[in-house]
């Protein structure tokens, strides 16, 4: 029911939904980030396993601008192509990979030179809103922002953890072409706690320190987060150690 109402709303508003494979990237504080493109998962599928497999990689910065585009070819199902992400001043964002020829999960790795962490991307979609809807969201967003609110068109629930040694951040990805005001409310052992309203530029990203949503504690605190956005978005969890963003970081997709 909710899904069909949502589909109807999309049709009425003229929203275009484009299937897209995307991954996060992180180069904060000198970290190196690289994708691993491959097509190994169709290795045993006749008709799908004959290379080469071309792909286009588009890297979006935190402000949504495209900072790099690469044309890549994965020669065969046993090959893997590493695509380094260009470091930028902000140091994070998301990257899309065309999947007309690839049928495998792609990896994103983050390294401090000594060791590396990895996760994979998501094959979902990005949404494109027509001008009138962008204007509508801009007006509504400005009206609601002073009250710390947004239009809750999309809602996600996510657990996250915060401690002295094991820290977490949210990498909020705006998968639309409208400014996405995302409200994040944290709950832990009781009534709703701290809330933040984060404005994410079109096709942009923002990092939010989970530790700012909960009182500092020596022990690990588990938080139930509710995220509401006026447009389509997703997030990755960023794990950190005691050096927080100055150390190696991990990334993890969510459901």
């Amino acid at each position: 029911m909710a899904a069909s109402l949502r589909a109807l709303a999309r049709r009425l508003l003229g929203v275009e939904r484009t299937p897209t494979y995307y991954l996060p990237w992180l180069t904060v504080n000198g970290l190196e980030c690289a994708l691993i493109l491959n097509n190994v998962e169709v290795r045993f599928e006749p008709g799908k396993n004959e290379g080469p497999f071309p792909a286009t990689v588009v890297q979006h910065d935190a402000d949504g601008t495209v900072v790099g585009t690469s044309e890549v070819s994965v020669i065969d199902t046993e090959a893997a192509v590493e695509v380094p992400m260009a470091p930028t001043a902000s140091g994070y964002g998301f990257v899309t990979v065309s999947m007309e020829h690839l049928r495998s999960d792609l990896y994103v790795t983050v390294s401090d030179g000594g060791s590396y962490t990895a996760t994979h991307g998501r094959f979902e979609f990005v949404e494109t809103y027509p001008l009138r809807v962008r204007i509508l969201f801009a007006v509504l967003g400005r009206l609601l922002a002073p009250f710390g609110r947004t239009v809750p068109a999309f809602v996600r629930d996510q657990y996250a953890y915060s401690g002295r040694d094991g820290r977490s951040h949210l990498l909020l990805l705006n998968l639309s072409n409208v400014t996405n005001r995302i409200r994040v409310v944290a709950h832990w052992d009781g009534p709703p706690g701290a809330a933040r309203l984060v404005a994410v530029p079109p096709r942009g990203a923002r990092l939010l320190d989970v530790g700012t949503l909960v009182p500092a504690a020596e022990v690990l605190t588990q938080l139930a987060l509710r995220l509401e956005g006026n447009a389509w978005f997703n997030l990755y969890l960023v794990g950190a150690g005691p050096r927080d963003l100055a150390g190696l970081l991990s990334l993890m997709h969510v459901k």
Binding site: E45, E78, R103, S111, S115, D165, G239, A240, M252
Partner: protein, 236 residues
């Protein structure tokens, strides 16, 4: 038990000193909690000895594995934790996947979030996934890091010994290991980071039965965990 319930058996590994939390429901809303009908947690040592079974309160959202199994794990390097859940079928076709948080106390490595291995039920049980989940692979960055790599394998079966072949691939060479895992046993199998002068590129696990399987990366000097990830199935 009602035939309207669907099973999901998940497996993870707990090591002493870890902050290790596992989510029982997708999210904190009331609907999700209601759909988790029951959950049993069982802990096994590497030889498959049953250490403890813990009936769980399904209203809990997150398990603290350290609090639950830390004392029974004792001096063991690692225990396998099986989470045997029954969900109201209304939760499907969306997968009632468990997610975890992992960080060793005092470690300078980053905290890791990960998806807990679903070894039985879940997607295959309800939505006709065609993936061959006993043949899995994982790709590594090709340059050399000061890391040790391995795969953690556990056999959640009750009666069957499972044989697994673990093959590490290098630029031109490969190295295979075969292990037989009696029921509930588990093992960490090292993968040589280098073989005949070539760096590790990929690992593949073949087994007749679905195993609990994770790829692990540890800092060579300290053993700190930096990679704890599931593998990927062929035939998507």
């Amino acid at each position: 038990m009602s035939s309207n319930l669907s099973a999901l058996l998940s497996a993870t590994f707990y090591e002493a000193g870890d902050e290790h939390r596992v989510e029982l429901v997708h999210q904190q809303d009331r609907t999700a909690r209601r759909q988790l009908a029951s959950l049993d947690l069982a802990v096994y040592d590497p030889e498959g000895k049953h250490l403890v079974a813990v009936p769980m309160d399904t209203h809990q959202e997150i398990l603290d594995l350290g609090a639950l199994v830390g004392s029974v794990a004792g001096a063991l390097p690692r225990v396998m934790v099986l989470l045997d859940a029954r969900y109201d079928e209304r939760i499907f076709p969306y997968r009632p996947h468990h997610y975890g948080f992992l960080h060793h106390r005092g470690s300078t490595a980053p905290a890791l979030y990960y998806a807990v291995n679903a070894v039985l039920g879940g997607v295959p049980d309800r939505i006709g996934a065609t993936g061959l989940t006993t043949l899995e692979t994982y790709i590594f960055l090709r340059r050399a890091f000061a890391e040790r790599y391995s795969v953690l394998l556990g056999n959640p079966a009750r009666f069957s010994t499972a044989e697994a072949q673990v093959t590490a691939y290098y630029a031109t060479g490969r190295a295979s290991q075969v292990v037989a895992l009696p029921p509930k046993t588990h093992v960490e199998m090292e993968l040589a980071a280098e073989h005949a002068g070539e760096h590790l590129q990929r690992v593949e696990i073949k087994a007749l039965f679905r195993l609990a399987s994770y790829v692990v990366g540890r800092r060579a000097a300290s053993g700190e965990l930096v990679l704890f990830d599931h593998l990927f199935s062929y035939h998507r």
